[in-house]
Amino acid sequence: MPGLEDLYREIILDHYRNPRNRGELDAPPARRVEGFNPLCGDEVVVYLDVADDGTVNDIRISGQGCSISQSSASMMSSAVKGRSAEEVRALIRAFKAMMSIHEQRLDGSEEEEPIAAEPDVKLGDLEALQGVVKFPVRIKCATLSWNTLAQGLDEAAAEAPTG
């Protein structure tokens, strides 16, 4: 039985109490994307300043949620700020792989090939969120801001000048 210490690592509580990149950007020119967890009412708003080449120049997070969703958003903002589109995409894939590998195990399909991890991506502090996978109902809390970020990047890419 996983204990609370697996979930509430000190670094998670630190990001919850002292969220990084908390606030808003003027939108427009920044892009504003909302994410909701309809089950629990948590909501996150991600403000993105994305360059034409897809680089995340700046990011801000607002909204409300539990320690897991808020700390995940805070760590995400630190990890993606200033990174290229490819790096951010790889990070999103790596984070979701960390979250969903265990989801497969819970389904009893441990033998199956796990979702392709991103061996070259360093998750750093984000690895503290690995404990969340032992609490399946909280995985959606951890992934809320990441899905919202991905949605914002998709929208930015779709509207970016071509060529």
Binding site: M1, G3, L4, L7, Y8, L13, Y16, R17, L39, C40, G41, D42, E43, Q64, G65, C66, S67, I68, Q70, F135, R138, C141
Partner: protein, 413 residues
């Protein structure tokens, strides 16, 4: 000294689930507003039907079919007595309250509401008594009005005369599933009828906790659900006045609810079967009847008395221990409320409260409780909610209180 006369220790033994150990602790179940636990008598009644008398109802001429039908219709009669309905023809089985209210909105609403007609609801309704009417707003162009909430989390009736003028139906939750507020149903019924409107009561949190007399309440429709009343999931009840139900068109259509089908048309069955399409949840109806037997064995007056006493104890004990860190969203007067205690804890999100409590075997709900407009009105995204029933006692409240200390310690800045 116990604050209540109910022998909770003895009652708990009737519920097999309380033998369960959670995270090394005894089970402290404080989420009955979401769904209640089941006494052995309910489980046995359902098993007994399946083991001895099960067949489809209203079909077979053989012994099993007769017995099954008698048990199913006996359950309807048991419900009729429980809510003091004038006739069992007025007692319709549904899946739950959500389906019961959808039935009223879909059938009565479409037959009786036109563009511009108004329906009066309240700001504390569950989504089940909001969305069916929002659908009619979209599809028919009806107007929705809302009774606001006062400072002490009661309905603010100061503008009732203006708001109720010209409405066709008033819909109100009997006891709020978030605030615990016990609403003045009789008063609203009289006001609705004076205004030429009907009154619909969402009784999901009411019927399991307060002796229910639909005639004394003066309402026109009353819905409740089995699984919050010690019964199984999948069975609910809509009671409606016979002349209303008689005039309403069928809701779900198909098997069982018909008298005749031709290739060019069909004729509905009479009440109550007109509103019961397809094979019904037979064992669940029998389980619901057993739950009613169990509850009435305890006595609904004793149930209510116990919950008022225990709620008073909980409000006092929680406030004494946690002071200003704890913000309770609900009436402060125990007699004006049910045993639903929603709260915010300073610095700890409701999900985290619930997670930390789970570690101590304490089950509370965290979330918006299917009342998002109310959450917005309260200015929160979610609350933690502890809810009480007959199998809870002061020790359960104390366990909650102690576990909240741990949440406070873990998340302290």
């Amino acid at each position: 000294m116990a604050v209540t006369q109910l022998d909770v220790a003895r009652l708990k033994k009737d519920f097999p689930i309380f033998e369960r150990v959670v995270n090394g602790h005894r089970l402290v179940y404080l989420d009955s507003a979401s769904s209640s636990q089941k006494p052995r008598a309910v489980l046995d009644a359902m098993d007994h039907l399946y083991e001895t008398s099960y067949a489809n109802t209203h079909r077979g001429v053989y012994v099993l079919g007769q017995e099954s039908t008698a048990l199913y219709e006996g359950a309807r009669e048991r419900v009729r007595q429980f809510i003091n309905a004038p006739s069992s023809r007025e007692v319709l089985f549904s899946k739950n309250v959500t389906e019961a209210i959808n039935l009223v909105a879909y059938s009565w609403g479409r037959a009786n509401l036109r563009e511009g007609d108004a329906v009066l609801l309240t700001e504390m309704e569950h989504h089940a008594n909001l969305v069916p009417w929002l659908v009619l707003k979209e599809q028919l162009g009806i107007e929705l009005r809302f009774l606001p909430i006062s400072e002490d989390y009661q309905l603010d009736l100061s503008e009732l005369d203006r708001l109720i003028d010209g409405v066709k139906l008033v819909g109100v939750v009997g006891i709020s599933n978030v605030l615990g507020t016990l609403n003045p149903v009789r008063h609203l019924a009289d006001a609705a009828h004076a205004a030429g409107a009907l009154l619909l009561v969402d009784g999901a949190q009411y019927a399991p906790h307060v002796a229910t007399d639909v005639q004394a309440l003066g309402c026109d429709f009353f819905g409740f659900t089995g699984h919050k009343l010690l019964g199984p999931t999948g069975i609910g009840v809509l009671w409606g006045r016979e002349e209303l139900l008689d005039a309403m068109p069928a809701f779900l259509t198909g098997g069982e609810m018909i008298r005749d089908v031709r290739l060019d048309g069909w004729t509905p069955n009479e009440l109550p079967w007109k509103f019961e399409a397809g094979t019904q949840p037979i064992a669940e109806a029998v389980g619901l009847a057993a739950a009613i037997d169990y509850l009435e064995g305890v006595g609904m007056e004793a149930v209510r008395e116990h919950e008022v006493s225990l709620t008073a104890y909980a409000l006092r004990a929680l406030t004494e221990r946690h002071g200003d860190k704890l913000n309770i969203f609900g009436p402060s007067e125990p007699a004006a409320r049910g045993g639903v205690i929603s709260f915010a804890y300073e610095g700890v999100h409701p999900h985290d409260v619930s997670q930390v409590l789970d570690e101590a075997g304490v089950c509370v709900r965290a979330g918006h409780h299917c009342a998002k407009p109310l959450m917005r009105r309260l200015g929160v995204g979610a609350t933690a909610r502890a809810s009480l029933y007959i199998y809870n006692d002061e020790a359960d409240v104390d366990a909650l209180n102690e576990a909240l200390d741990e949440a406070d310690r873990l998340f302290a800045f």
